[in-house]
């Protein structure tokens, strides 16, 4: 449909035009005081897709994710989720409407147990429902069974990342936002994280992923956006982006 | 007339001569107003005594003004302003009152907090009285002899309490004092001094901080001591908390208390009151007494029983000042000061008041104390003894 260099054209549309677009950001702008983090950004995610946001540090990727859930100060544009305008909604209402964010650095409640962390992730669920969801997650995250009553802060980084993802999933979100899930993890653990993401894909979970590890991210993603200095520099099918990205210095120098 | 008395009489005469021209110049003119300026606490912790005092003063002022004023000529006006128990603001307010034409200054119910304001009044040659502050050293710290107290002070009351205790046959006392204030300390010390003098022994001393809620450690110590009487220098709400703690420990030792507790709130303390007594003012409370008349007037005006003894002290203050102004025949500061110094047997609500030749010290009135017990069923005080201590510690 499009190739690298065609900015913000129809390539921003989902891979499968028939699929429903569930998240749509239009002309989004985010600013911290005088510092603009994201400018005039258009982005779409369709049901069942994995979309990856790429870019160097400070490109505005995390600000973008945070803006979707209302944690970053949005100064312009709009966001709709499943047809509803969520631009002015509070974080908790956005989360309750079906979007879940796994924040950068995992941010588990370190003084609480794994089980308690997950219970909060499913805060809206009734106890019985929660138990069912908790059980359901066990095959994907065996760690939950083993360490359910361990203090979250005492787990290893990889284990914490799994718990963080599980915590985001337990409330059965229709869109999962993953912020740098492989950051600071050993390579072997990173493999495990990507395995989990692939498994989620098989289970038809819609994911918007922010990732530094472009090569691996593009392998599992359907589509990708490349951000630099707060704007989208390129967008398109993951395969196209991948081919160009490897030979092009875009990703390495995007933040320069 | 002995030589000393003669000398005093001569000196008084001389003073009167010296003041003559001034007095003549400011002779009481009909239709004029005598303004009492009061730097009072309306909104801080001393307001709990100044508020009832104000009501008592109001009654006395109405009574006097209804008869045409002092000597039938000069009406009294009260200008009461808030000093929030702050000594610095107290001095400011006194200055303001002087500027507003006050003839006489009243300060709040604490001689120590009052002192800066009192000194300010003295500098302007106005007599000044603490509404119910009780430190006998107070007047001597105000220059020019302008300082007065409205009550006989902690030394005499402490001695009165000690004499009562000795009369009851108590030998060993345990005292509770606080160094948070002068009143809560000097009275207890005077009691101890006089009690020892009478052959008693102080077997224990405890201290509290004003506003403490728990007296259990102290109460436990007291209950388990070999004291045969407990003397406390507290006032409510501290007293009620203290007595409750004693009650719950099953204390049976008699408790003697001080005038700060002369308020119906004390009856919340419960059972321990049955074995307690208290010194206070207002000796004679029998039917037909000045005290009873005052209470009647109070009820007529405010539709309720006086909320504390301070109401009567407020009445006393005004009648003493009015008597002095009448005797001076002048509203001039120094003249009123000298006249107040010579006031003798003025009928106040709490009995006869005399500043003349005060045995305690210049500026400090002599009036009888009462020892009262508690009629819990009717929430009334019962006078068991009236009098004044034989001896008391000197002013320090």
């Amino acid at each position: 449909m499009s190739s690298l260099g065609n900015q913000k054209d129809s390539s921003a549309s989902p891979a499968n035009p028939a699929a429903d677009v569930i998240l749509r950001a239009t002309g989004l702008a985010v600013a911290y005081g005088a510092v603009e983090a994201v400018r005039n950004l258009d982005l779409e995610v369709a049901a069942g897709e994995i979309v990856v946001l790429l870019g160097a540090n400070g490109a505005g990727k995390s600000s973008m994710l945070n803006a979707i859930v209302g944690l970053s100060p949005r100064v312009g544009g709009s966001i709709t989720f499943e047809g509803h305008d969520i631009t002015r909604k509070s974080t908790e209402m956005i989360v309750r409407s079906g979007i879940s964010l796994v924040p950068e650095g995992r941010r588990l409640f370190s003084n609480m147990t794994v089980r308690e962390n997950l219970r909060l992730g499913g805060a809206a669920l009734r106890p019985a429902e929660f138990e069912r969801e908790f059980e359901r997650l066990h095959d994907l995250f065996p760690i939950l069974r083993k360490r359910a009553d361990s203090q979250a802060g005492l787990l290893s980084g990889g284990e914490q990342q799994q718990v963080a993802i599980a915590r985001a999933l337990v409330g059965r979100p229709r869109l999962l936002l993953l912020d740098e899930p492989s950051l600071g993890l050993a390579p072997i653990i990173v493999n495990r994280v990507f395995e989990i993401i692939e498994e989620l894909r098989r289970r038809k979970v819609t994911i918007l992923l922010v990732e530094q590890n472009a090569e691996r991210a593009l392998k599992i993603a359907d589509r990708g956006y490349v951000m630099s200095n707060g704007v989208v520099e390129a967008a398109g099918r993951a395969a196209d982006l991948q081919a160009s990205a490897i030979e092009n210095a875009y990703l390495g120098t995007a933040g320069a | 007339m002995n030589i000393r008395m003669k000398r005093i009489a001569l000196m008084t005469a001389a003073a009167a001569l010296m003041l003559w021209p001034l007095g003549a110049a400011a002779e009481l003119k009909p239709g004029t107003v005598y303004k009492i300026g009061w730097a009072s606490d309306k909104s801080n912790y001393l307001s709990f005594v100044d508020e009832p005092l104000a009501k008592g003063m109001e009654i006395a002022i109405e009574e006097i003004n209804a008869k045409g004023g002092i000597a039938g000529k000069v009406k009294i006006e009260l200008d009461r302003r808030d000093m929030k128990s702050d000594p610095m603001l107290g001095a400011t307010v006194v200055q303001e009152l002087i500027a507003a034409g006050a003839n006489f200054i009243v300060t709040t119910c604490d001689t120590d907090v009052s002192l800066p304001g009192a000194q300010m009044a003295a500098k302007a040659s106005l007599p000044v009285i603490s509404s119910c502050g009780a430190d006998a050293a107070g007047p001597s710290q105000v220059p020019g002899g302008f300082g007065f107290l409205n009550v006989p002070g902690t030394l005499t009351q402490g001695a009165m309490l000690a004499e009562y205790a000795a009369k009851k046959g108590y030998k060993k006392a345990f005292t509770l004092k606080s160094k948070s204030e002068g009143y809560t300390h000097t009275l207890g010390v005077a009691f101890e001094e006089r009690f020892r003098e009478l052959g008693g022994e102080i077997v224990g001393e405890a201290y509290y901080t004003l506003g403490d809620s728990s007296y259990r450690v102290t109460a436990t110590k007291m209950a388990s001591s070999d004291a045969d009487v407990i003397m406390t220098n507290t006032f409510p709400p501290d007293t009620t908390a203290f007595l409750k703690d004693l009650e719950r420990l099953g204390n049976t030792k008699p408790i003697i208390m001080v005038d700060g507790n002369d308020t119906p709130v004390i009856f919340d303390a419960g059972g321990q009151l049955d074995i307690s007594a208290m010194t206070t003012y207002g000796g004679n409370r029998t039917p037909g007494s000045a005290f009873e008349t005052f209470e009647k007037e109070y009820r007529a005006k405010f539709g309720a029983d006086p909320e504390s003894l301070q109401t009567a002290l407020g009445y006393d203050l005004v009648v003493s000042v009015a008597a002095a102004v009448e005797a001076a025949g002048s509203t001039e500061g120094a003249a009123v000061r000298d006249a107040l110094d010579n006031v003798e047997n003025v009928a106040g609500a709490t009995g006869l008041i005399s500043y003349k030749n005060s045995p305690i010290g210049r500026g400090i009135p002599k009036k009888d104390y009462a020892v009262v017990t508690f009629d819990r069923a009717n929430r009334k005080f019962v006078v068991v003894e009236v009098g004044f201590p034989q001896k008391f510690p000197p002013v320090k």
């Binding site: - | 808030d82 400011t92 200055q95 907090v113 002192l115 050293a137 160094k179 948070s180 002068g182």
Partner: protein
């Protein structure tokens, strides 16, 4: 012009600007005000010195102290004991040591003794306090204030205990107050603009980063702590020699909260302390006069005790709700005037203004 300005020059210019404004205020009240107004002005200046004293520590370290009124008390008693009339001391504190009983010093040497005592106490206990931040500091300093109060209330041989210590000569005049104010203002600004002060201020937001860039936070705080205690003691000495009779209760919770509120409402700068003191003095006085003046007719405001205090407290809440950083935030008067000048004459060469340059490191939270 601003770029090359030396830190000490900036401090002096800033002090001079404030001094001019306060002098104008003093002149106006002295010429036009009643005797009561002048009295209130003197009390205002004493509170001002106390507030600046506290701000020297709080404004630079970002740590609150509820203990500085304790230093005021030490300054007050220290100075009063050496100046009071020996005849009165012989009556009031006959058991005090001879060097106190016989002493009848002038104001300045006695004040310096009071200041010295406070500074010494601050130096001894300072090492403990400067390591505390946050609530721990709040409670510990409050504890220090209670300890001073308790000791003064109990040291009957020296202080007459809880009773008023009187006979203190009325040395405090408007001239003394203005002189002391000027000196302390300059000291405060110099400390604030010095490397120590600047480094410490940068540590308020990020202590670790500041330490990494070479700021010795603990020692810098210690310097400010002792200096601020000494300045508070000056306020105490002026207080004692103005009021003529002091008692421990005068230096307790109420004065503590008054001074702390003045500082917090004003902001984090020396100018802030002044603005806060001015605002609270004016509000309290206006309400007080309203209460006293409103006694005509059937309704009298003075029959509603506590109402004016409640109104004052609510105004403080309102002010802080509107401006959580305090009225002037972290700015000094000279920053504000420089900014104002810059707005009027758009900078031709685009050089950074001093406050922008220096305070970039220390942005408001």
């Amino acid at each position: 012009m601003a770029m090359s300005q030396k830190w000490w020059l900036r401090a002096l210019i800033g002090s001079a600007q404030i001094l001019v404004l306060v002098s104008l205020l003093v002149a106006a009240v002295s010429l036009l005000g009643s005797s009561t107004d002048q009295r209130i002005l003197t009390v205002f200046l004493i509170n001002l010195i106390a507030a600046i004293g506290l701000q020297i520590y709080t404004g630079t370290s970002g740590i609150i102290s509820f203990g500085h009124v304790g230093f005021m008390a030490l300054g007050a008693y220290g100075s009063a004991l050496f100046t009071a009339d020996p005849a009165i001391k012989a009556m009031g504190i006959p058991n005090a040591p001879d060097f106190i009983l016989t002493s009848a010093m002038g104001f300045l040497p006695a004040m310096l003794i009071g200041v010295g005592v406070a500074a010494m106490v601050a130096a001894v206990i300072g090492r403990v306090f400067v390591r505390l931040g946050g609530s721990a500091a709040a409670v510990a300093t409050l504890g220090f204030m209670v300890m001073v109060f308790t000791v003064l209330s109990n040291a009957e041989e020296w202080t007459r205990g809880a009773k008023a210590f009187s006979g203190i000569p009325a040395y405090t005049t408007m001239g003394w107050c203005m002189g002391a104010f000027a000196v302390i203002l300059v000291i405060a600004r110099l400390l604030r603009e010095s490397d120590t002060g600047l480094g410490l201020r940068s540590s308020r937001d990020d202590a670790i980063a500041a330490q990494a860039s070479g700021v010795d936070v603990v020692n810098s705080r210690y310097v400010m702590w002792v200096a601020s205690a000494a300045c508070s003691a000056v306020a105490g000495a002026l207080y004692a020699h103005y009021i003529g009779a002091i008692l421990p209760k005068a230096f307790h919770f109420e004065l503590t909260f008054l001074v702390v509120t003045m500082v917090i409402v004003g902001g984090q700068s020396i100018t802030g302390a002044i603005v806060g003191t001015l605002l609270i003095t004016i509000l309290a006085e206006a309400l007080r006069r309203l209460e006293n003046g409103f006694s005509l007719g059937s309704f009298s405001l003075s029959e509603a005790p506590g109402l004016t205090t409640a109104v004052l407290a609510l105004l403080i809440v309102f002010t802080l709700t509107m401006r959580p950083q305090g009225l002037v935030g972290r700015w000094e008067l000279d920053d504000l005037t420089a900014r104002w000048l810059a707005k009027r004459r758009p900078a031709a060469n685009g050089t950074a203004l001093p406050f922008e340059k220096d305070r970039e490191r220390n942005p408001a939270a």
